[in-house]
């Protein structure tokens, strides 16, 4: 579904991604782990189409479509979804209005009929149950005055509402207590299916206890230095990132 080939990305004068290769198939969950500053969030933002990143080489495609040639909204309508590390507060725009606008833009693009207020409400209520989000939050301005956990839950609520093909979760576990972590993970697990894919970007392994990945990739200094199955995450948790950054030193010490 998602193919990242030899991707090089700069931010201002600094090279952040230095040749990323990644193949994510439908039905799979991939975890991208790495220390701070390794380029994880850059990868997530480039997939979603955020400004400020200069792609100097390589390609990103989804089902054969060149994502890099598409605007963020076109990507979203084709099924790319980014759960933000820092969801943005938008005073003056209610969550419900925002989601209705977004959902109908996506439906229009797919040639589906727009949902009217009644049907939208019905659909929204179902999804609210899935992530256990309070009706009060739905009628408030987008993310305004939300706690860190509420913001992350709102991201997963949007994921459930918009039902994308590819979900990229950027540090979705940060700032969550264990109960919120379970709820958020449950929302993602219910989303998982044979026709969609999930890329989980995370620093810590603990989210992967709940969202169990099929593959784990370790990103260090703009390169994927190691890939493996879910057990790789546990190994990283135990041995720390130094183990992959500097394996020879580790071996020498043993």
């Amino acid at each position: 579904m998602l193919t990242v080939k030899d991707l090089f990305v700069r931010v201002e004068d600094k090279e952040i991604l230095k040749g990323i290769n990644l193949e994510v198939n439908a039905g799979e969950v991939h975890a991208i782990m790495g220390p701070n500053g390794s380029g994880k969030s850059t990868l997530a933002n480039v997939i979603a189409g955020k400004d400020g990143y200069e792609v100097t080489g390589g390609s990103v495609t989804m089902d054969g479509m060149d994502l890099l040639d598409m605007s963020p909204e076109e990507r979203a309508r084709e099924g790319v979804f980014l759960a933000f590390q820092y969801p943005v507060e938008i005073p003056g725009v209610s969550n419900a209005t925002f989601l209705k606008t977004a959902l109908n833009e996506i439906r229009k693009h797919k040639g589906l009929e727009e949902l009217d207020a009644m049907n939208f409400l019905k659909f929204m209520r179902e999804k609210m149950k899935v992530v256990g989000i309070d009706e009060k939050l739905i009628n408030r301005p987008v993310n305004q005055g939300f706690s860190g956990g509420e913001k992350k839950r709102n991201e997963i609520f949007q994921l459930q509402m918009l039902q994308p093909k590819l979900a990229v979760l950027d540090e979705t576990d940060s700032g969550l207590d264990i109960d919120a972590l379970k709820i958020v993970s449950n929302g993602v697990n219910l989303f998982r299916g044979k026709d969609n894919a999930v890329v989980v970007v995370t620093h810590y392994q603990r989210l992967l206890d709940y969202i169990v990945p099929d593959f784990v990739h370790v990103l260090v200094d703009g390169r994927i230095v190691k890939s493996g199955g879910k057990e790789l995450a546990l190994e990283l948790e135990e041995k720390g990132y130094d183990w992959v950054i500097n394996p020879e030193a580790e071996t020498a010490a043993v």
């Binding site: 979603a48 189409g49 955020k50 400004d51 605007s71 963020p72 909204e73 990507r75 979203a76 309508r77 979804f81 980014l82 933000f84 969801p87 943005v88 507060e89 938008i90 005073p91 003056g92 725009v93 925002f98 989601l99 606008t101 977004a102 959902l103 833009e105 996506i106 693009h109 301005p141 987008v142 949007q158 918009l162």
Partner: protein, 434 residues
Amino acid sequence: MENTRNKEYYISEFKKTEASMNGEASSSFHQVRKNAISRFEELGFPTIKNEDWKYTNVKQLFDFDFTGGNAAGVTKKDVDALHIKGLNENIIVLVNGVYSEKLSFVKKQNGGIIIENLNSVLKNNPELVLDHIGRYATIDNGFTALNTAFAKEGTVIIIPDNAEVKGHIHILNITGEAGKHILTQPRNLIITGKNTKVNIIESYHSTGSEANLVNAVNEVVVGENSFVEIYRLQQENQDSFHINRTQAVQARNSVFTHFSVTLGGGLVRNDTNILLNDENCTGNLYGLYLTEGSQHVDNHTLIDHAKPHCQSNEMYKGVLNESSRGVFNGKVFVREDAQKTNAYQSNKAILLTSDASIDTKPQLEIYADDVKCSHGAAIGQLDDEAVFYLRSRGISADMAKTVLIRAFANDIFETIENETFHEHLNQLVFEKLG
């Protein structure tokens, strides 16, 4: 030089008008006009050397030969399209600055309430307005002087103590005539007694795209324990000029609320002033302006706290696109007597391009020592992070901007209690942004 020529032109026009009057030239009101024209002779039109007009240069006005017009080109259909459904119980229509009986409609009101055009009041009952006209909007610039000198058309609203007005009053000004540049000088007088309530809509529209000049003056007396609300909507074409002066004077326990909405007009200058002239008054000034192209919108406000225990709330918000310009100058005076004053002012603007600009100046002069006054000014751009957030959910870049601009204006919308006007304005804003 041009300035002088134009000044003289208006003075000679005044003399011509005077010569053609039968008997009216000896009326008491005509003395008011005569005083005004001699003040105009002293003052002339303001220039940018005048501190209050520093950022708004009116010299473009002298490029046009403004003249009067007739009502023939405006149909009932044109005017009906400008009615605001739900706020159209009483409509006073001025076409090219002249009252149109045919297009106006006033509900039968309770005894003593007067909703009538100024010209007929001056002819039939001048004593109703003589003590008031020119008393509040004192002449401190050439435009007010000129309006007073030529004061003839406009709307008089008089509400006696305890009288209940039926419905809203919409003063609808429509200006324009093919091949002409029209000058209108509406003069409105609104006088309320004790315990009254009135909602007024003052709207300005153009037909055609010729440059016209509207030079309007409103005087508002808010009686004891009364509640007066004015919505001013400026929707003229983008070549037109609009100079608007509104002066309200409040009596004890009264509430005056003014909403200024500027979407149209090429050069717009508003002076919106309140005098809180007795205890326990509330004065509210809210403004929203959305500009594009080369529009220039200047909002000057003055809130004068003359007496103790009053509060004022002021909030102006602007969104400036392309190479449009904004000016905001908010004066708040707290006089020595005005202890326990509570004055709040906020003015914010978003510049959508690097060519758009705004000059903004809060000006607080406080002579009392036990007061709470705050002011804040902020100028910024649309939040790129928020634009991306919306786009990442499938919302187009244009729509994301519209949504965020509407959200920026939301504080103003929240102050509008009248749902019909709220919805009307919402629609106008989306049309303008669309």
